[in-house]
Symmetry: C2
Subunit: 368 residues, 2 copies
DNA sequence: ATGAAAGCGCTAACAT
DNA sequence: ATGTTAGCGCTTTCAT
């Protein structure tokens, strides 16, 4: 049986080139003429190893194409398990609970690998809650962090501090670009706007031209709000002639949205895209327009008001993010990094832009 | 050191309830007063163990809530690795190459777990090619099988034989329901038809009633073809009044589709849904209708002709399956089963119904 | 039928 | 600075 594993004797011989399968630390040690312990220290920068020896070891490891064996590392980790901290804002919508379920999904695969996951919530309305939570996680000795943090200089700075102390950090849902994080997992908001535009365009094609479209958002000074609107405008420009897009800023509040929309002349409006903002206000105002039924509505996310609107036909489609992936992917990336030292090929791991209509309602809400 | 693992002494003491972390085989052995080897044999039905002892061991394992440690099992598997066979039809479209890429993705996570994956292709036009490929895989000693097979009694029978010999089998993309397979990974075709109907309905809303819709398919005697059409008809019934759906069977061939469509009176046709069948024929016939531009078109899958049509506007939307998931999920399910003995909670693992428009084209084709 | 021991690859504690 | 050893949980000879 030439396939059998040949564990025992062989005293080193067994043919010169019989490098069996994946190279191991033991093999590197043999080639370098040092002990396994030294190889381990060299390859993992644990210090206490002569630099020239370390360099030689690294060279050999490279030539052999060494990469650590995840199962072995995992089994060893089981010794004293390690924690991945997940830091999320406690918002009123349940979007982040969906992400939390994704986290649990992703974490399951690594429980037995000695990698545990711990979700820590912070109150986004309190100034430094995020920073404190982050510092707590670091102080508790976590081995990696996935987070959704506020876009403030303070937050960026503390993430940077964590990164510089050697911790792998992955942002999810919204990014902190200059924080040094290893990766960002989230949707391309511009693209989601383009998709909304294509839907809107193809739904309103038979309308009389020139036609008008409303794009509702919170506040264009926020880049994230801008992106969807920009994508929508660009998409409409590409898909339709004789159609104008009017942007309405509602500051994400019900009354602000209401008054801003009431100021609009409904004549010729064939559709409204709620990038962000009060969907309830939009639906109410639309009801008072002369021909509500002929105004198509596209929203974002899977909120109760959206399901309600999809059900009774006031909303046509909603654009979703893959919340589950935004929970599981960061955990996966961090765990893989801890086990094999790998980094994602792209810093930005895009989650899909999902078009959902009323058929969404036939599927039970997230995770049934 | 109360934390240290206490291999030797302790003679049972160390405080009565100090069951550290997850129960291990060693613990079960201690409690049962037998050796680890015996526990292993009992728990894995390897024979050579007194039935009464085995029963007691199983009871204890249950009480302790034992489940095997995946990292440890993986490390051991590394000893003599194990193979998952993936059996796919070699068709002309590249749909199954997309699945193949998904397989590679899924397999990556288990390479280091001593679980390798090997894709075997068969020629779907040859009568018993599938069965032969399956038997080869079994003869080669694979430890689990993911497959897409033909819906023939012979195929079902040989899958059943493999299952009965103790091999875990997962079907993907299309199911073999009564084959005894552990799970099926694939789309809900009926639901995909409903989604197509919702899109079609919302795109043609402003058309004059009564309006007519064409639903193109291959052959209604195939359940898979039927499902999409049924979903489409049901969805149209739900979303639109005064609209009729006419089913056209094109036998999935270009000329058959062409002549069947040419027999149709185009008057009042506002949309066409190509569930299956020759999309090229549909687009050609539509071009000769009096008002091509006012006939909305929805197709399935991501084929070259579909991309072409989306780009120049002859096709509005296409409904996709998540090919990548149909490759990676079966592998994941089988690998998890081999490592921890788990089975999926649901026999049917549904892959999402994805609505894609021209924006799809901005994203590079599968796996760039 | 059962027990004992070795080993998968890696790492931390303990020598030297 | 480097080597040695034990052990993570499981399986598999090889004894008994």
């Amino acid at each position: 049986m030439p396939g059998s594993s040949a564990g025992g004797d062989t005293a080193g011989e067994r043919g010169p080139r019989t490098r069996r399968g994946r190279p191991t630390i033991k093999q590197i040690a043999e080639v370098a003429g040092v002990s396994r312990g030294t190889v381990d220290r060299a390859l993992n920068n644990r210090g206490d190893v002569n630099e020239s020896v370390a360099a030689r070891i690294r060279t050999i490891a490279n030539e052999l194409g060494y990469s650590p064996h995840r199962a072995a590392k995992a089994l060893r980790l089981n010794h004293d398990p390690v924690e991945i901290a997940v830091i999320l804002p406690r918002t009123s919508s349940d979007f982040f609970s969906q992400i939390e379920r994704g986290v649990a999904d992703g974490a399951g695969a690594f429980e037995d690998m000695g990698i545990h996951t711990h979700v820590r919530w912070f109150d986004p309305s309190r100034e430094d809650a995020f920073i404190r939570t982050l510092e707590e996680a670091v102080a508790d000795g976590c081995a990696g962090i996935a987070l959704t943090g506020p876009q403030t200089p303070g937050a960026v700075a503390s993430v940077r501090t964590a990164v510089e102390s050697g911790l792998p950090v992955v942002t999810t849902n919204s990014d902190l670009p200059s924080s040094g994080r290893m990766a960002f997992v989230g949707q391309d908001l511009y693209q989601s706007g383009v998709v909304a535009a294509e839907l809107m365009g193809k739904m309103t094609r038979r309308a009389i031209r020139p036609a008008r479209l409303i794009a509702l958002t919170g506040n264009l000074t926020f880049q994230a709000h801008r992106d969807r609107i920009d994508g929508f405008a660009a998409g409409i420009g590409r898909w339709m002639d004789g159609t104008t897009v009017e942007v309405v800023e509602g500051q994400d509040r019900y009354d602000g949205t209401l008054s801003a929309l009431e100021a609009i002349d409904p004549e010729g409006v064939v559709g409204a895209y709620a990038a962000t903002g009060s969907i309830r206000a939009l639906l109410e105002v639309r009801e008072r327009w002369p021909e509500p039924k002929s105004v198509r509505v596209i929203t974002n996310d899977d909120l109760p008001i959206v399901r309600e609107g999809l059900l009774d036909g006031r909303i046509d489609f909603t654009i979703l993010q893959d919340a589950s992936a935004q929970g599981s992917e960061p955990v996966r990336l961090l765990a893989e990094h801890l086990l094999s030292g790998t980094r994602p090929a792209n810093e930005w791991v895009r989650t899909p832009v999902i078009i959902a209509g009323a058929t969404l309602l036939e599927v039970p809400p997230p995770e049934a």
